[in-house]
Structure formats: structure tokens, C-alpha cells
């Protein structure tokens, strides 16, 4: 993969160090996301995928290094500029994060009503179009509690694209989905990306599904990118770590055990004695 020219790059993460509760999460992370692509960022749970999205969205600041989005350093933006940048970013949270006191229709209308002065008739047209694009125009009057997990995520997706963003960030869009709604979501992400001219960042540990739609894949572990490339390049990787991850083997370079004292010592009360 060739790094794009600077105009071609939407997100550039450069040497990011970030620690949480004294424990390093990122230790010199570098990656680039080019415009118009679907980029997958994969890694086991707890590697900091959600943290990375929060750094890109400016909810967290790196301890060192820079996160550039559309030519702006996110951590340096004032509140007003940061909010203007976020208006052009759609985020799909792990939980969907729909507003539980609003109907499906009002959830999708929410960003339009907050950020535009469009007349209600036009908002209605836009909302119905967005809902149509995720196949849920008929569900407009339901409340979030009445939706299945897959439907909730599609509504959240319709909301995320309501303002025609530049970029959509997906946090684990496939977890907890049955195979059918998983397939729906996978195709939807790709289709919306191409039809709306978006750039998509999909963070996930569902290797198969994510790899199927990604143009570029980054695998992160231990706070760094350990492998990057297309799906075929990754499948051909010789790194034992990547092979373990892509094939889902339980033990390998990534240990099954969380670091712990020796079991025998532990059982004999090593610490307490």
C-alpha cells in the first residue's frame, strides 16, 4: 500500500502515545485513512480500538503525537471548531446510542434539527430518504426499545449519515448481530460508502466480515500497528501474530492468559504469606 498524497489523506495518525490509568494503550501508533476508502482497524478486545475512535473524534487527546483529520489537528481545535468538524463526522457507537426518549423518526431528525434551520417539511423528506437507505422507512414511528439490535444499529447509521458527513466511524458494528443482520450491515457499510462518497473507518474484531468490505486493513496490537495491507496481503502474512488473529486460534503469540504470577505460587498463597 502506498501512502497517499496529503490531499488524498483524510485521517493521519502520527506517532500517537496514549495511556489510560497509567497503562499505555498506544505506544507510537501510525496510520493513514485515504478519502473514499473503507478502512478496517482490527485487533483483539482491549487493544484500544474504541480509544482510537475517541482520539479521532476529539473526545480524548493523545499524550504525544498527532491526529490529523481533514488537515486539522484534532487536539488543537477549540470547542467551536471541534464541533464544526464533528458535524462532518458520523459515529456509530458500539451500543447504537439512540436517544431512548425519541422515536426512530425523531432520532434521525435530531442532528438536522440541531444543526440546520431547515423547514420541517424538508427535514421529513431527508429523514425518510435516510431511513429508506437503511431499509427502515416503515419503522419510523417505533421507539428505540421496540427495535431489534440490528435495526437499532441501522437507525443509528441513518442518523450518522443524516448531515451527509465526510467520514463515518463504526465501532464494532457487527458484534452481537445474527448472521442475517450482520450481512445486511456489511453490505450497507460498503454501499453507503460508495454511493454517498464517504470515507469509512470500521473498527472491529470480527475478522471475516470486516475484511470482506475493507479496502485497507490495519491490525493493531500492543499499542502499535503490527500489520497493514489489503485482505490478500494480510492473508498471506507470515507474522505468527497476524495468522493467529486472522484465523482465530486461541493461543499463540497472544497468550490466552492475562499476565499472572505462577499458578502454583498463587494457589499456595504466595502473596498473602
Amino acid at each position: 500500500m502506498t501512502p497517499g498524497t496529503s490531499d488524498d489523506v483524510l485521517i493521519r495518525v502520527e506517532g500517537v502515545h496514549f495511556a489510560r490509568a497509567g497503562r499505555p494503550v498506544f505506544d507510537g501508533l501510525d496510520l493513514t485513512v485515504r478519502r473514499g476508502r473503507v478502512v478496517a482497524i482490527m485487533g483483539p478486545s482491549g487493544t484500544g480500538k474504541t480509544t482510537l475512535l475517541r482520539l479521532i473524534g476529539g473526545q480524548l487527546r493523545p499524550d504525544r503525537g498527532r491526529v490529523m483529520v481533514d488537515g486539522q489537528e484534532v487536539a488543537r481545535l477549540g470547542r467551536g471548531d471541534l464541533f464544526r468538524l464533528r458535524e462532518r463526522m458520523g459515529v456509530l457507537f458500539q451500543s447504537g446510542a439512540l436517544l431512548t426518549d425519541l422515536s426512530v423518526y425523531d432520532n434521525v431528525a435530531f442532528p438536522l434539527r440541531e444543526h440546520t434551520d431547515l423547514p420541517e417539511a424538508l427535514i421529513r423528506d431527508l429523514v425518510l430518504m435516510k431511513l429508506e437507505s437503511v431499509g427502515l422507512r416503515g419503522a419510523r414511528d417505533l421507539m428505540p426499545a421496540e427495535l431489534s439490535g440490528g435495526m437499532a444499529r441501522r437507525v443509528a447509521l441513518a442518523r450518522a449519515i443524516a448531515l451527509d458527513p465526510l467520514l463515518v466511524l463504526y465501532d464494532e458494528p457487527f458484534t452481537g448481530q445474527d448472521p442475517i443482520s450482520m450481512g445486511v450491515l456489511v453490505r450497507l457499510i460498503r454501499r453507503l460508502n460508495d454511493a454517498m462518497g464517504l470515507t469509512s473507518v470500521v473498527v472491529s474484531h470480527d475478522v471475516e466480515e470486516t475484511a470482506a468490505i475493507a479496502d485497507d486493513i490495519y491490525v493493531i496490537s500492543g499499542g502499535k500497528v503490527v500489520e497493514q495491507g489489503s485482505r490478500d496481503e494480510l492473508a498471506a502474512s507470515t507474522s505468527p501474530w497476524v495468522r493467529q488473529f486472522m484465523r482465530g486460534e486461541p493461543d499463540g503469540p497472544v497468550p490466552f492468559h492475562y499476565p499472572a504470577p505462577d499458578l502454583a505460587d498463587d494457589l499456595l498463597g504466595g502473596e498473602g504469606a
Binding site: F83, S95, A97, P111
Partner: protein, 259 residues
Amino acid sequence: MNDGLAALGRWGLGVFQRLGRGHLFLAHVLAGLPTLLPRPGLVIAQLHAVGVLSLVIIVVSGLFVGMVLGLQGYNTLVDFGAEESLGVVVALSLVRELGPVVSALLFAGRAGSALTAEIGLMKATEQLAGMEMMAVDPLQRVIGPRFLAGFLAMPLLAAIFSAVGVFGGYFVGVGLLGVDDGAFWSQMQAKVDLHEDVYNGVIKSVVFGFVAAWIAVFEGYDAPPTAEGVSRATTRTVVHTALAVLGLDFVLTALMFGE
């Protein structure tokens, strides 16, 4: 001994940190209130939720408190042959003390805890973080209307409580115990002072409303985003509001009526 001291120190620091966060939070919320001016619908919806939530309990409690006041007051006054003053006793107790204080306590239990739980759950389910990522400030959009609604509802609820309470006292005193109808009202009219009594009562309920609404929304916003965190925060709202209201009531009473 040293451990105990260290724990005490940590606890103290924690308390002051929370106090600091609470005040910064309040400043931020107050600064965001003007953004609600063009959108009164947001506040009205919350006013409806908070007010209607509390209305039944306020009316029923007000009625019973008034009836008890009528009964107790009559038993005391009749010994001095002063049962005609029953209206004054009932009205003064309600307007000066029981109206603002009891309705604030009921408000904390009914509406304050609901506000805390709602905001805490919105936080736990990433709704607030989601809003921030949609470039909407939850302090302006979610907290502001709820705070303002709680603050505005409190004096109204206290007024309803007192009014219903007076009728409770009237019902027992005049209706059941035979106090003279005209004397009940005319004595009340003559002895209850608009400035001294009614305004001071209103000031109390305004202060209590401010504090109760502040505690409720802050506890929700500051709750750890877990089931346990939200449930503890809900309890804290009720306990802290009760303590704050009773403490402030003493201070305000001393300032207003103490010589």
C-alpha cells in the same frame, strides 16, 4: 492510625473534588441556559414531566399535612379558647415552613431521583457521548432544560402544597371540629403577611428548587456509567437533597425570622 489518616485525607480530597466538579458543572449549565430561549419547547416538555410526576404526591401529602395541622392545632388552641386562630396557625406553618420544606423533600424523592436515573442511564448507554459526537452539547440540550424545569417547578409545587394544605386544615377545623368558618378565614387574612410570610416562603422554595435541581442533574451526570453507579447516584440525590434542604431551611429561617 496512619492508614486511617490517609483514608480520611483521601475522602476529604474526594469530597472537595466533587464539590469543585459540581460548581464547574453548574457554571457550565447556567452559561448554556440562554441557548434555550429560542427553544422553550424543550423546557416546557421537562416542566411537564417533572411537574406532573410530582403533582399527585404533592397534592395528597399537602392535604394530609394540612389535616394533621388542623387537628393538632385545634387540640392545642382549644385549651386557650383560641380555636378561631386555627386558620392562622395552619397557614403560617404551611407557608413559612412545611410547604417549601416538605414539597422539596417529596420533589427529591419523586422527580429528583427520576432525573438522576434518567441522566445516569443516558450516560451509561452512551447517549450523552453520542450527542457530543453529533456536535450537540448535552449540558445545553439535556441538562439545561431539566435543571431549569426542576428549578421552576419547585415554587409552583410548594404553592400548591400550601394551598391544598390550607384546605385540609379547613376541612378538619371547620368541617369536622366546628371552628367558625368566617373566623378561620378572616384571622388568616389579617395575620398572614404577604411580605413577611408569603414572600419568604417563596424565597425558600426558590432556593430549595435550585439546590434540588442542581443535585439531581449533577448526580446523574457525574454517576459512574454502570448499573451500580446509577443506582447509588439516585440514592445520593435523595439523601443529599434532604440534608441540603433541611440545613438551608435552618439558615434561611434564622436569616428571615430570627431577630
